[in-house]
Subunit: 215 residues, 2 copies
DNA sequence: TAGATTGTTAATCGATTAACAATC
DNA sequence: TAGATTGTTAATCGATTAACAATC
């Protein structure tokens, strides 16, 4: 019952990783099937939304039974492209870059870290997570030679836009941007921004709101 | 023209940090006033949306003139609560915790880091960013004694829920959660989740979509 | 078969955009 | 004053929820 007509809204895509996460938990607990209703209670959303979301991609359930957890998780993984074997490089081997290199959940999602780069002579050559830090001068060539898919940018803001241009020139497919700046790149290169301070700011707002209602 | 009646939608709150960011850039370039129209072009949103968003909080502009950048940025800062002097602690002095401690944009947003905690004896006592790492056993007491507002959780998933409970018991106001798990806390304690692997997953989807349209 | 639960259509709700009178 | 641009109402669009026939 595949339906390729409807365009999938952005909000739906953003919810997929969360489904993936919860289904993974269920699998860990050896739960083999689940109805949209039980899952909705677990995740604190409506059952309707779950069914609607999944039906953008196909009918994965079975009437009277529900969804098979194992096969649903696989389907979502496929939809997200977790089995495409995407490769990543980290640019900027500072604290954050190092933390991300050691972040195992990246590998758990089917991404393969294949390179780490920095422009600091004192860091180049060091090993992080078994990968030797390379000079940033090699980036474009490395991306080209290895068909690298994702560049994770953890460089200072001042360097971010320039670096974005360079990885695009090298032929990168997507960018995960941790810098404060928003990047100007061609429309066919998706950028996912992780503005850490933004989260803290919305949290501050919500704390303030709670304080206000307290009174 | 303040309007306290309308409830502010979540999406609007989430956009405020972005406005704050762009207005900061304008200020750096010594631009003193801006119309919703120019700002909309800069930010790639509609002028209507900007005006609607701002009007949830009051009329900050002036007909025929536009908005004063300096005062608008201050207003948004106030709305978000950046001037409340919120204090933060980081729990988990691993790679990520250390990276965040050194992340200057936190301080730039009016947050004050007042403590770092870990349960690893070999780390306790070390200095990070001029702050001595304390034992996790002291957390509850420290939060209480210092009226700490925000706990930044960078602990392993297995420890996250337990730690969330403990900081809540200590009287924390909000949590910035970097662990994979979603936390179960009382409804008056806001939690902002930063699920790093989720961003990579939606990026994978978008890369895949680009590949598909390429063919 | 009877009960459960999906896939899907229709109804509702909320957010975005358009339009324009108010006004600086 | 005339031109520009806001604040705000109304129109549109899209996302969420409700409902239920299809079916396992």
């Amino acid at each position: 019952m595949e339906n390729n007509e409807r365009r999938v809204p952005e909000v739906v895509i953003k919810r997929l990783p969360r489904y993936y996460r919860y289904l993974g938990e269920l699998l860990k607990q050896d739960i083999q099937r689940i109805s949209s209703n039980s899952l909705s209670k677990l995740m604190n959303v409506t059952a309707s939304q779950i069914r609607q979301d999944l039906n953008y991609f196909g009918g994965f359930g079975q009437q009277g039974y529900g969804y098979n957890v194992r096969s649903l998780i696989d389907e979502i993984g496929n939809i997200l492209g977790l089995n495409d074997g995407d490769t990543t490089i980290i640019i900027g081997a500072g604290n954050l870059g190092r933390a991300l290199a050691n972040h195992n959940s990246f590998a758990n999602r089917g991404f393969k870290l294949v390179g780490i780069f920095d422009n600091d002579e004192s860091i180049i050559g060091a090993k992080i997570c078994g990968i030797t830090v390379m000079s940033d001068l090699e980036i474009e060539g490395f991306i080209r030679d290895n068909s690298v898919d994702v560049a994770i940018l953890t460089v200072p803001n001042s360097a971010a836009q320039d670096m974005a241009k360079r990885v695009v020139d090298g032929g990168i497919r997507g960018i995960l941007n941790f810098s404060y700046s928003e990047l100007d790149v061609p429309p066919n290169v998706p950028v996912e921004n992780v503005h850490l301070s933004d989260y803290l700011m919305t949290l501050a707002y919500r704390i303030k709101s709670e304080r206000d209602t307290e009174e």
